[in-house]
């Protein structure tokens, strides 16, 4: 019996250690954001003097209203609400566009016998090699030439010009047993029917996972919106936040409450999506590299 108690004790100690590491890690991730939240509950005057503290004030709703409805653009409307809507359009439009185009192209590549199939494959998949950031200036010039500055399609379409989703769906389609296509052919389903009746329903989980990843990716875009949108009406939260945070510097009473609230509003939708659809999101993320 004595031999039994000692390893059990040691086990307990290691469990405590494991939990301590995880608690410290969780705190490391979450405390900075709690700090943002705390600052939105107190008056800006206090924030300016003492910075973040443990005090919980009563300014939360006040700051929320300011963040959502106050505009301080020179010419346009950059209320939090406007920016939130723009962010949603960018996130949803980007995710939807990416998935629709990606599925169509992947379907063509995987399920059809085609001339130039290899060429098409390479044309599409070379785009995985170069992120937008390295060709940012010429991309800007082209969007400018096409008169697409300060438009949603100018914002969204160039971001879609890469094959991440196509690659993802190609991998997934290839993992679907080919007997299924054969059975469908014998059942009299043509290519369109097969796509709608069988492939899309089968891909539901994958589509959901891709949608979450792409939504977060689109929502969080910064450099591209910074360049393409100069009208304040077109600002997204992530693009507008720096402007507002920085405009505080040097003013007599920086509006920490409002700008932090905007930061929280910018964080919240993608975080909620990721947390609530965690299992899909993780599946999509970890399977995209295979």
């Amino acid at each position: 019996m004595t031999t039994n108690t000692s390893p059990r004790r040691r086990l307990k100690l290691s469990v405590v250690l494991d939990h301590s590491v995880l608690i410290i890690g969780a705190a490391f991730m979450i405390v900075p954001v709690l700090m943002l939240l705390q600052m939105t509950t107190v008056a800006d005057l206090i924030n300016m003097k003492t910075g973040p503290s443990l005090m919980i004030g009563d300014q939360l709703d006040d700051n929320f209203m300011k963040a959502m409805f106050k505009a301080d653009g020179f010419a346009g409307d950059n209320t939090g609400l406007r920016m939130l809507i723009n962010s949603l359009i960018l996130g949803l439009g980007f995710a939807a566009g990416k998935i629709v185009l990606g599925m169509m192209a992947a379907y063509a590549i995987v399920y059809f016998r085609m001339r130039f199939a290899t060429l098409a494959f390479w044309i599409i998949f070379t785009t995985l090699l170069l992120p937008l950031e390295v060709r940012i200036l010429p991309s800007y010039e082209i969007v400018q030439k096409l008169g697409m500055l300060n438009t949603f399609h100018g914002l969204i379409v160039p971001l879609i010009a890469s094959a991440t989703a196509t690659f993802f769906f190609r991998q997934f389609f290839r993992s679907i047993p080919e007997e299924l296509v054969e059975a469908a052919r014998i059942d009299g389903a043509g290519p369109v029917k097969f796509f709608i009746d069988i492939l899309v329903p089968l891909s539901q989980t994958m589509i959901a996972a891709m949608f979450i990843i792409m939504f977060v990716y689109g929502w969080n875009q910064y450099l591209w919106p910074t360049m393409i949108t100069t009208d304040e009406d077109m600002f997204t939260l992530v693009r507008g936040i720096k402007q507002i945070a920085q405009s505080q510097e040097g003013t007599t009473l920086p509006e920490y409450g409002r700008s932090n609230m905007l930061a929280l509003i910018a964080i919240l939708p993608p975080v909620l999506v990721v947390v609530f659809f965690q299992s899909w999101f993780v599946k999509g993320l970890t399977e995209s590299d295979k």
């Binding site: 054969e182 009299g188 089968l202």
Partner: protein, 348 residues
Amino acid sequence: MAQVTLSQISKVYPNGAKAVKPASFDIPDGEFVVLVGPSGCGKSSMLRMIAGLEDISTGDLHIGERRVNDLDPADRDIAMVFQNYALYPHMTVRKNIGYGLQNRKIAKAEINRKVAEASALLNLDDYLDRKPSQLSGGQRQRVAMGRAIVRDPELFLFDEPLSNLDAKLRNQMRIEIKALQRRLGVTAVYVTHDQVEAMTMADRIIVMNAGNIEQIGTPFEVYNRPATTFVASFMGAPPMNLMEGTITDGQVRIGDLVVAQNLDHPAGPVTVGIRPEDIIPDAAGQMKIEVSLVEELGAHRLLHGTLGGHPLSVYVSKDNEVRPGVLHVSLKQNAVSLFGKDTGARLS
């Protein structure tokens, strides 16, 4: 229901690989034909050409009166059961079975009637609203059958449908499939690599190897009069013993031992084939086998040993107590099959 006629059908892949060399045979109406052979022998390509899932390189294929070479699979009036069942995972059993009919623009009521009929036949009534993932292997197999039945096809095609099932279920499904085919009277082509399945289910067996048809015959013919050494060694477990022998003066010898007499074959080397169960322990027998291992199989014993230096196996009933060592045996009547040493073809 129809007769199927293959004339000079072959399959050559774009990379030049000859999967099926030109083959011709007829399948009479209502017959159950099994294509059997090792993997890569061309049996699946043959089936897929009949189904229309692969193009026919040369030759003509007729189902009934129609030449179907250029018809889509859906227009050939066939039904196919796949190895992994290929059920649509997102559809209920009911939808899975009815999907093909729905695509043929058949009236809803008619579809419902046919699905109900098939499910009654296959004991699937309680599962119609389940998804395939909620079914056992045997039930999935039956759904796949149901999907085939409702089409009222002229021809059933089976692509190794039982290979994903465990041994017990496989035996049961074997009987069910065969009984169903009998009852419906539909012509069937069944592909398998399992020679037991072939023997038990087929009206006729087609043995294939390396793109060639080695033999076409009833299970009895294929087993007892194998046309080639390949068939002899492929059909039957344990396989036929094949040994080097010679013919001199109408006598077949293995080493010094005479195993058959009074033949009118010319002298020369031959391959001698003897089924393990055709060798019987016989204290007066002049053949001596050096037994090295006895496998206990319950109803039978399988002896492994050598005869004049050639490895060989003997299948004896449980009544024969045998231990490793020397065993005297004799042969049953007509136990010896002879094959050309170089051609491997049976010498009649």
